[in-house]
Amino acid sequence: MARKDRHPPERPDVEIGASVKADSLRFRKKPKTEVELHGEVVEPDRRHDVDTSSGSERENLPDEVEPGVTYRDVSVRWHATARIEDDEREDNPERRKR
């Protein structure tokens, strides 16, 4: 029942990770959540986007939880990353190929 959907970039500049494990978990109401990642880098002569990613790995917990249901042995790992997009960065995989 484990599920993975994260694809963090190679060597991100910023990483935030959190993990929660619980013996039992019950939602009384269906939760509403929104997560938005953003970022940019501005230099005098150029601008870089920031490649962001986030995802979670869950065990014994569905994508859409049902109110009133008790989920047992639950594990959730959440991960968000940000990496500055820059062709000239030394650890750019494309640059290493050249």
């Binding site: 910023v14 935030i16 959190a18 494990k21 619980a22 039992s24 509403k32 938005e36 960065r89």
Partner: protein, 355 residues
């Protein structure tokens, strides 16, 4: 009477054993590490994955494993915002953040183990700053066109290096202030938790906040000294990292705010856990502030060294000669080199100074 006391001591759960050998129930209540709960194994896996494939971060804010027996959580429209911001004068601006919105949430959770990590790597930020400063070195006319920013950088100075040298002092102060901000911010955040969980935590917050503030002064001083010694723009990294540190305050306070919410809606166990979380966060924040100060100084030194090496190559001088010219205030571009292939040596600089 003695026998009764002895008997009581014997029956105490987990007595006489190491923390990792005590019963899970005891470890849970005391928030002690065990030999391998699922959360702890995941934490170790996570840390291992990072060190193997992604390199060590410059900043690591680490809340290892926190255990709480039960939580009843009610949330109405909680907005959390975590942002990393770095700015070098008005030349480079970097931001990356997460906005999280929770609508109505009613949650019962038992047997909780949680951990959190924040990692920041400054290598590429340092590379960007280095690139911008190199561009300014090579195109000093850009400096004139940058208006107010450059006036701040180089009041009355004719050369880019002099200008950045002036900025370095500001940066040293900036880094110090930023780290102090982290200290006071973290202190304040823990103070907030203290209101919910007990006055004792507030006191911890003040003490720890003060300690981090002191670290901040030290780090700021260190970066300032690096800047003065180098006489170049190395300290700019310090400001970037310093402001990054300032933003860590938001991270810490955001995390602590979450902890406060948990503590406010649970019983004594949750309050105890909240105190422990606060203590761990304060320890982590103090340590990270110190580490970040060191990281900023290290980056400044690295960048300064690379820039000095490049400039020495451009001038066909040895790095030692370049340092000596700065020390003796000799215009090295006017010195004639006597070394191999006309390379300028320390002796050439000394002779030019005496001439």
């Amino acid at each position: 009477m003695m026998a009764a006391t002895k008997s009581k001591s014997k029956s105490k759960p987990g007595a006489g054993r190491r923390a990792s050998e005590k019963t899970e129930k005891y470890r849970f209540a005391q928030n002690l590490e065990g030999q391998g709960t699922a959360a702890e194994r995941e934490y170790r896996d996570y840390a291992l994955e990072d060190s193997d494939s992604r390199g060590e971060p410059d900043v690591l804010l680490d809340v290892p494993v926190v255990k709480v027996d039960s939580i009843h959580l009610e949330v109405d429209d909680l907005d959390a915002h975590v942002e990393l911001r770095a700015k070098v004068l008005d030349l480079v601006k970097l931001n990356a953040g997460v906005d999280v919105h929770l609508g109505k949430l009613r949650l019962d959770i038992k047997g909780v183990e949680a951990q959190a990590l924040l990692k920041v790597r400054l290598d590429h930020v340092a590379a960007i700053v280095d690139r911008v400063l190199t561009t300014l070195d090579r195109n000093p006319e850009l400096v004139k066109s940058l208006g107010r920013t450059v006036e701040q950088v180089g009041q009355g100075a004719g050369h880019a290096l002099d200008e950045t040298g002036g900025a370095v002092e500001e940066i040293g102060e900036g880094a110090g202030d930023a780290v102090q901000d982290v200290g006071s911010g973290a202190g304040q955040a823990v103070g907030d938790i203290g209101e919910g969980a007990g006055q004792a935590v507030g006191d911890i917050g003040e003490g720890a906040g003060q300690a981090v503030g002191d670290v901040g002064q030290g780090a700021g001083q260190a970066v300032g000294e690096v800047g003065e010694g180098a006489g170049q723009a190395v300290g700019d990294i310090g400001e970037g990292a310093g402001e990054t540190l300032g933003e860590l305050e938001q991270v810490v306070s955001g995390t602590l705010q979450s902890g406060g919410d948990v503590g406010g809606s649970t019983g004594d166990i949750a309050k105890l856990a909240t105190k422990i979380v606060a203590q761990q966060l304060m320890g982590a924040a103090a340590e990270e502030a110190r580490e970040l100060g060191l990281a900023a100084t290290r980056k400044a030194l690295e960048v300064g060294e690379r820039r000095r090496q490049r400039r020495a190559d451009e001038l066909n001088a040895t790095e030692a000669a370049l340092r000596k010219a700065e020390e003796l205030e000799v215009d090295i571009e006017g010195v004639e080199g006597s070394g191999p292939e006309g390379r300028i040596t320390i002796r050439d600089v000394r002779e030019a100074a005496e001439a």
